[in-house]
Symmetry: C2
Subunit: 127 residues, 2 copies
């Protein structure tokens, strides 16, 4: 049975979500033991929200859940890579397909390269 | 000019290296301000080694450096994605192409799925 090493990061380890078809890196967030257990049990990605300090079933509010296709663990047992089917095509709360929708150009500035799939105001409501 | 948020992780943020051609996720390690500066300056990935507590010019010992093709920053400015040309074809110190060379099977055990490119005993010397 796989044992992850949660000791280095105060109980948290980074988890990368990658689209299983396109290979695009969609996001990176953290998991703890509880969310790891939920991932294995449900087949859907559950992170740990550092800002809210709670279990985060990704996509529950927007509908954009992540169905786990495969799970890979790195050589140190302290990082996880999920290949996922991204329901709703967008992983980022900004509405972009990937959280990594900004590229650093030669002057060190951002250029937007990602595709915006949804309007976050409509999905989450205006604040 | 891009400003990364190093505040949440005690001066460190995660950096993912992805092969620019195959889309394979090769590894994840950490960068601090100094390594970020070195990445921009040299075009080669420099991490911060948490175990050695020093700047880590990836591949200097093995020859397997990572040439940066593009840099993406996530929506929170606290994770970086490098697309890289992996010199020597292997990123992992175990000799595998990717650090994520083990897949979790249905019983929760590891199966090795990655390709071993080099023998680490030959590259780093026996301990």
């Amino acid at each position: 049975m796989v044992e992850l090493d949660f000791s280095k990061g105060n109980g948290l380890i980074p988890a990368i979500a990658q689209d299983y078809k396109s290979g695009k890196v969609l996001m990176m967030a953290y998991i703890n033991k509880e969310s790891w257990g939920k991932c294995l049990e449900t087949g859907e990605v559950h992170y740990w929200s550092r800002s809210r300090q709670e279990l985060w079933h990704k996509g529950v509010q927007s509908g954009n859940i992540q169905k786990i296709k495969d799970i890979f663990v790195d050589c140190d047992n302290d990082t996880v890579l999920f290949t996922v089917e991204q329901i709703g095509r967008a992983a980022c709360h900004t509405g972009f397909e990937s959280c990594f929708y900004r590229k650093v150009d030669k002057n060190g500035d951002f250029i937007i390269v990602g595709e915006k799939i949804f309007d976050p105001d409509k999905v989450y409501g205006k604040k």
